[in-house]
């Protein structure tokens, strides 16, 4: 583009006068041609649509649609764009001066074709319609007479060849072929042939570019004097909608027109990931997007998404997900089929997200599914099979190590340490036989995952359809767990009349899941804590209920056998869109969407479960319904040649309703029918029922204005009303403004040929957050019941403190961004800097329980965020048979609490909220604890006297040798709560992703790394109470097994963990020892693919076939001893490493 620009301006400088004359002449000619239009329509001789004999013509019926249009003095480019738009075509053109000439069109009757004739009359422009719905505009090949050049000089040579579409093998007309670093170039003719003459002999890099296709580059083309070097090129179609068109919410936009910070995720690179929930695949795939996977359960759960870090303290930090225009609740998108998704956009800054107003504070993720394309129907099949195993097994004490631990624990407690005392008979038997149990191995298995998707896309000019069916079954690495999903999708586009279009998106998904004791302290936690001195089976080979003599040592396998935990869901997600063209440029759109999810759960514990007595059947049904109705009015108008205006008005309502009913019974006569026999239970418990509903009413206006495609302005305002807030505070207003400057369009940069595109973006806006539980502004009550000697009395009592003043949490964000594309698309980079202020935070703050409640939801305080999002995509090598691409994204975000309740202490300083771990001037999410300062009397041989001396002189005179020492921060000689401090933050210093893709001939190889650095967390396997205050922590006590740590003994004082002791559940100040650096680098994925050569594929009757082998979650580099450095709590399901083999077919 830079080259073209440069030429253009140069010529203007050189022959201004000549141009003026030409302009006058052209104008005159145009007038004459316009008058001749009618005659042409009749005869169709010598038509400018030179390639009407093209095979795609059958799809070009749009050209005969009637069209009424008046255009006054617009450029030819704009005229063609408008006509194309009216005809439902997309425009792609080779730039020439003719495109910039002003034209006028007044057509009160006639067809699209007539209009095209009229605006291209008198030029050398030729038109073509492609299968994919593009109107291509190129220059006609010059006649031999016109191209007659002076005889070539001996020192010069030529390059000639043909450019074809890589997919169809057909010649591509109008492709711009040029020599990089020169002004030499040509465009291809009707058959795709080109020829560049007068090239000085030497080595060149040849590049061919065409809109809608990927640029192809051939290096080291040798030109010899007087010879013609033949170079043939095949261009690959770009995935439309990704690079070119960006979904921005309530419409789409060309990437170069976008003013806000919008990241597109390369969906193609996600397809081979064995993830069930699309959200999981987003981890570090776009700058500023962080996905925290705290649980690896099949079906995906325990996912947390943060866009640009956390800013809210209590309200959710999850972004809003919008699927084909329908906002959905939560992040559980496991019903969505990744193969159906065509694009994922992340709206990050306030200006982009402000169109979702009250729900945009945490960013918005827009997911678009595939649509049918006009043309011959195409089938695609994607299938894979994968095998998984635990990625990071925990290193727990082995049998002999466990015995040593227990013996030491007894010894430290002053108890006898003989085998008879420390082991029960079963344990002694196991210890003697040496057949210890590896409990992790016992409950885990190799998981198997199948995934099959078949889709069809096709349609006529008025009706297009995309249909797909998918089936997935994922067997988890924990025995019995699985997730099964069947999906059906139907997306249609129907344009019965030129001004009316219906679009539908419809998804029906059914899932079934076995969560296998996914309740608290399920089989996994049990397995982790069990003594390795246990027995799984009895003499008859049956599972033993208890693995040792300890009656709390339930056999997790026995529990799995004696229980059922089934979950089902049926989700219908879809919308109907009607678009009416009311007037030129004025469109009305009605979007009615719904998200319906019916769930069912069944749980059963047999009469033997947990050693008996826990028999119960639970059956529950739930239903969640969300509907959205949007009325959208858009108006687009080109004013003159320079001004373009696009306005959007929206009125929408949304209502979400959840309800469920659950019944439970005990004492069933038989275990045969499990929960299905719930009605046979003798002991029916009160059923529980929940109901909640909330609604949102919104008005939005957006105005986009661009001047000469160079200065772009977007103004947005949205008013949202939410039922979740107090009576006077329901409505909020969220304005935003964004400005972008296409620097590369400016004359002073046009001559810098290394720059293809350079855009500066600046935005400011406000967004809101309403993600709080419902009914918080009212006083909630709970139902209590009590049986007075069998006489049951029920009553309600207050269950929450009402806050009628609740209102929106508001975020104001400022964003500065730069988009650059350099060296012909070799380097593309985006950098965004942002700063945001969040006020009126919705704070579920802990309050003294003397208020009757331990927490209260309030709008208090202020936080500040700033950060950098950076992405770099480079094509280091880009040749037809060899390419190397590197993609990097890197983000940092910093949060800071600026203000809390506003309370001050005696000295007038603002008061921190220690109980909630909120400290003014510090990030959201800090770890506040004592500072671990080693182990008493460690290092060197144990000397009792010296040790006692060390303890006596410390701030912990009660400590025992080998206890944890913490730092006496205030130096007052005692350790108390004053000695706690901020020892770390859960906010990473930075995080990012690095991917690289190599293709060689038909092979492709991609590798992807994820990194999160500078983050601190409590290790849940040391101090689980950090995640669940009610959990019983047993650590270094000798009763339960645990991760193998190097503990202190008098014989081995060189330890970093305290001495075990049987008489206490855990060492004092254990929490300080549990603070670990949770930074990690993960080799997330390696995929090796092979695409069958086109000829071979044709021979077996397919258009395209690709085979691949993909490894996922391959390796973690981390010091954090856990299944996964992001593991939430000890009940988390371990993350699996998966090897997948798959095939992509289209036919």
């Amino acid at each position: 583009m830079a080259t073209r620009q440069r030429l253009f301006w140069k010529r203007i400088e050189a022959c201004r006068l000549w141009l003026l004359v030409l302009g006058v002449l052209l104008l005159g000619a145009g007038q004459v041609r316009a008058q001749q239009t009618e005659a042409r329509t009749a005869s169709k001789v010598d038509t400018p649509i030179a390639w009407l004999n093209d095979p795609y013509l059958e799809n070009a019926a749009r050209l005969s649609q009637p069209l009424r249009l008046t255009l006054e003095q617009v450029t030819r480019e704009q005229a063609l764009r408008i006509i194309a738009q009216q005809a439902g075509l997309r425009l792609s053109y080779e730039w020439s001066e003719a495109m910039n000439e002003p034209v006028t069109l007044r057509q009160s009757q006639g067809t699209v074709l007539d209009a095209l004739y009229a605006v291209t009359a008198g030029t050398d422009l030729r038109l073509m319609i492609t299968r994919s719905g593009y109107l291509l505009v190129g220059r006609a090949p010059k006649s031999s007479a016109e191209t007659a050049e002076p005889a070539p000089v001996q020192q010069e040579g030529s390059i000639a060849g043909r450019v074809i579409d890589a997919a169809t093998g057909e010649g591509l007309p109008g492709v711009n072929v040029f020599l990089v670093g020169t002004t030499l170039g040509a465009s291809t003719d009707i058959d795709g042939n080109y020829r560049i003459d007068n090239i000085p002999a030497g080595l060149y890099t040849l590049q061919a570019s065409f809109i809608g296709y990927r640029t192809a580059t051939v290096d080291s083309v040798e030109v010899r004097a007087g010879e013609v070097t033949v170079v043939n090129l095949a261009l690959e179609q770009e995935v439309l909608g990704l690079e070119e068109i960006v979904v921005v919410g309530y419409g789409t936009q060309r990437r170069r027109d976008v003013t806000g910070a919008v990241s597109s995720v390369n969906v193609e690179s996600l397809q081979e990931l064995p993830v069930t929930n699309v959200v999981e695949a987003l981890q570090t795939r776009a700058p500023g997007v962080r996905v925290i996977t705290s649980d690896g359960r099949p079906g995906g759960s325990g996912l947390e998404v943060q866009i640009r870090g956390a800013r809210s303290l209590t309200a959710s930090n999850q972004p809003l997900f919008v699927i084909d225009g329908v906002p959905v609740e939560g992040v559980n998108l496991s019903e969505l089929n990744l193969s159906d998704i065509v694009s994922i956009e992340v709206l990050k800054d306030a200006s982009a997200a402000a169109i979702y107003g009250a729900r945009g504070s945490n960013g918005v993720v827009l997911i678009t599914t595939r649509r049918g394309r006009e043309g011959e129907g195409r089938f695609s099949y994607d299938g894979s099979i994968g095998f998984s195993e635990i990625a990071n097994p925990l290193d727990v004490f082995s049998g002999p190590e466990f015995i040593a631990l227990r013996r030491e624990a007894y010894r430290a407690a002053g108890m006898p340490t003989d085998d008879e005392t420390i082991m029960d008979p079963v344990e002694r038997e196991v210890a003697q036989s040496g057949q210890y149990v590896d409990w992790q191995e016992a409950v885990l298995r190799t998981g198997v995952r199948h995934n099959h998707n078949l889709s069809y896309s096709g349609g006529s000019d008025v009706f297009q359809v995309y249909a797909s069916g998918g089936y997935l079954r994922e067997e988890g690495i924990l025995k019995r767990t699985f997730f099964e999903r069947g999906t059906f999708r139907l997306n249609t586009d129907y344009r019965p009349i030129s001004w009316l279009k219906f679009t539908t998106n419809f998804l029906l998904a059914r899932t079934k899941q076995d969560v296998a004791g996914g309740e608290r302290y399920g089989p996994f936690w049990t397995a982790y804590t069990l003594s390795p001195l246990g027995k799984i089976y009895d003499e008859q080979g049956r599972l033993r209920p208890f693995v040792t003599g300890d009656p709390s040592a339930w056999n997790p396998l026995y529990q799995l056998q004696e229980s059922r935990d089934d979950r089902w869901s049926t989700r219908v997600l879809g919308n109907l869109v009607a678009q009416v063209n009311l007037y030129e440029g004025l469109n009305y759109q009605l979007n009615a969407g719904m998200d319906y999810n019916a769930t069912k759960m069944g749980e059963y514990r047999t009469s033997n479960y947990s050693g008996g007595g826990q028999q119960r059947a639970v059956l529950g049904y739930g239903e969640s319904t969300s509907y959205t109705i949007e009325n959208i009015l858009t108006y687009e108008r080109q004013l003159g040649t320079l001004h373009n205006l696009h306005a959007t008005l929206l009125y929408s309502v949304q209502r979400v309703q959840d309800e469920d009913l659950q019944a439970q019974t005990r004492n069933l006569p038989s275990d045969l029918l499990d929960y299905n026999a719930i009605s046979s239970g003798a002991d029916l418990r009160s059923p529980t029922r929940n109901y909640s509903a909330w609604s949102l009413e919104s008005y939005m206006a957006r105005l986009r204005y661009s001047f000469a495609d160079r200065y772009l302005l977007t103004l947005t305002g949205r008013i949202d009303g939410s039922s979740k807030f107090g009576a006077g505070n329901k409505y909020g207003f969220f304005p935003a403004v964004a400005f972008a400057w296409q620097l590369s369009q400016e004359p002073f940069l046009a001559s810098v040929r290394q720059i293809d595109n350079l855009k500066l973006r600046l935005s400011w806006g406000q967004t809101g957050n309403q993600e709080i539980p419902i009914y918080q502004s009212l006083g909630q009550t709970s139902l209590f019941s009590y049986s007075f000697g069998g006489n049951i009395v029920k009553g309600y009592a207050p269950a929450s403190l009402p806050n009628p003043n609740l209102k929106w949490e508001k975020t104001t964000q400022f964003n500065l961004g730069l988009d650059a594309s350099l060296f012909g698309g070799r380097i593309m980079s985006t950098i965004d800097l942002y700063r945001s202020w969040t006020s009126d935070l919705l704070l579920q703050r802990q309050i003294p329980v003397t208020n009757g409640f331990t927490s209260f939801l309030d709008n208090i305080g202020k936080t500040e965020n700033w950060g950098i999002d950076f992405s770099l995509d480079t094509y280091l090598i880009n040749r037809p048979d060899f390419s190397w691409q590197v993609n990097l994204n890197w983000s940092l975000s910093r949060s800071k609490i600026v203000r809390l309740t506003g309370q001050t202490d005696e000295a007038g300083n603002p008061v921190d909220d220690i109980a909630n771990r909120w400290f003014i001037g510090h990030p959201i999410g800090v770890i506040y604890d004592w500072v671990f300062d080693g182990i008493f009397c460690s290092g060197g041989p144990y000397d009792e006297a010296a040790c006692q001396q060390e303890i006596a002189s410390s701030a912990q005179p009660d400590a025992q040798p080998g206890d944890i020492r913490v730092r006496d921060l205030n130096g007052d000689g005692v350790i108390n709560d004053q000695d706690r401090t901020i020892v770390g933050t859960t906010e990473p210093d930075w995080y990012g992703g690095l991917g690289t893709t190599l293709t060689y001939k038909n092979f492709d190889l991609s590798v992807f790394f994820t990194a999160v650095q500078g983050v601190t967390r409590y290790n849940p396997y040391i101090y689980p109470r950090a995640y669940d205050p009610n959990i019983v922590v047993i650590f270094l006590q000798g009763r339960a097994n645990q991760i193998a740590v190097d503990y202190w003994t008098p014989e081995d004082t060189d330890a970093d963990f305290p001495r075990p002791n049987h008489q206490r559940e855990m060492p004092r100040y254990l929490s300080a020892r549990a603070v670990w650096d949770a930074s990690y680098v993960q080799l997330r994925n390696i995929t090796l693919g092979y695409t069958l050569p086109a000829l071979l594929a044709a021979r077996i009757g397919v258009d395209r076939m690709r085979l691949y082998l993909s490894g996922n979650n391959l390796y973690y580099w981390t010091d954090f001893e856990s299944y996964n450095p992001e593991q939430g709590d000890v009940e988390g399901y371990p993350v699996a490493r998966t090897l997948t083999f798959g095939v992509n077919l289209s036919f």
Partner: protein, 509 residues
Amino acid sequence: MKTYLSMPTRWLLSLLLLVGLTGCGEGFLEEEPRTFVSTEAVLNSPEGLEGAVVALYDFPTWMYHSTRYSYWFISGTDVARIGPLHEDRGTALYNTDLNPQHGASREYWNQSYQTLYRANAIIAAAPNVDFDGDEARRNRVIAEARFFRAYILFYLHQRYGNIPLVTEPSETIREKEQPADPADIYRVIVDDLRFATDNLAWTYDDQPGRITKGAAMHLLAKVYLVLQNWQQAAQTAETLILQGPYELLDDPAEIFADNNENNKEAIWTIQFDPQADNYGHFLAVMFTPLYDRIQGVARTFEQGGRPWARMYPSAYLLSLFDKNDRRLKAWYKTHWVYDDPDEGLPPGRQVGDTVRTSDFNPPLDSMLYLHPACKKYWEYGATRDINQADSYKGIIRYRLAETYLIAAEAYMRLGDQAKALEYINPLRRRAGVPDLTELNEDILLEEHARELAFEQDRWFTLKRMGRLVQHVRQYNPDAAPNIKDCHVNMPIPQEFVDLTGFPQNDCYR
């Protein structure tokens, strides 16, 4: 197909869609709870208030739902030792697990104040509600709420030493808290209990488990002991004994028999019912040893049902009983017998023989499998099957025997030995042991242990007399090395300290 509608028609069509599909009317943004009633409705009607009172009864029930701290009033005394499966070593051993992060300590504190808020809300709202002239009905609601307020404050103060006093629902958020003057706390407690005594009936026949005049008087008598108001304590206990509808049962075993929890001796019994509750309590299994792990011994109700082995009676406690004391046999089990020949008996043993640890090779660790057991909460199948852990047998919170002991102590402190003996000897006679001829604090403590061990009063009585540390050191070898004078108060939860600046108790700073 390609027909044209005129421009006005298109506009009209769109307008119709716009209007037709989005008219959402008034109240679209109003929240309407459907599965609960609003706070306002609860506190503004007699029925609502009476319902809210039910929630107060949830407090004692709540405590026993927990497997972890239902027995924490029993832990750490001279009569109970730690069993092999004990879960809360902090309160049992006074070791470093008892610290400001202690879970049970935090839960009890929080639940107490949450219930206190509900009681205060009822007490504050009831005077303004229209009871249609039925003052007795209004006063009964207030009296029940005031009983619970006193009950909560009393045990909070006894357990923690320093506590904030809250007597009304706060209009604004309470931020800072300071320890209240004990005199103020006890003024509220005594006033509340006097009001309850005056406004409650002796019995509510259709509703056993309701707070009655008797329960209020019993607690009031206990409070007077703490206040060392011996005269009032004696008078209150005596009135209760003489005027109340309660009487000592003849057979100690009858008191804790199945299906008899609302007996004549019980003044207040905490009720459990699967129809009202999803969980029962777990005290039925807490004090049973792991006898069924022994080869040749089956799990039966007679031998103890399901065992959880959390605590067992100390040697000191068992040593207090005369071997003819009927209470020993009725309330404790000290040996087990072989009853399951299918499992195979040790050589030379027969069904019916007593299990000895030396029967096995290697010998059994007796304390792991065969410690003595307190049977007061055992339940023999009335509400559960043999493998079920939770039981729905009522827990007798206060019973007349304790009132006798209160009266005896009060008269003893007043120097009236005759009256004191008059109230302690009926318990002795019922147990089939000789009358006492003199009473002092040591003798009283021994009789208290014999009569009330494991009934959740021992810790409080020892603390009140200043004997806790001494007795634990002397008679509880598990906790003896750890206990310090400051352990008479539990730790204030760290969050509460962090939030309010409330001073932490000694031992935990």
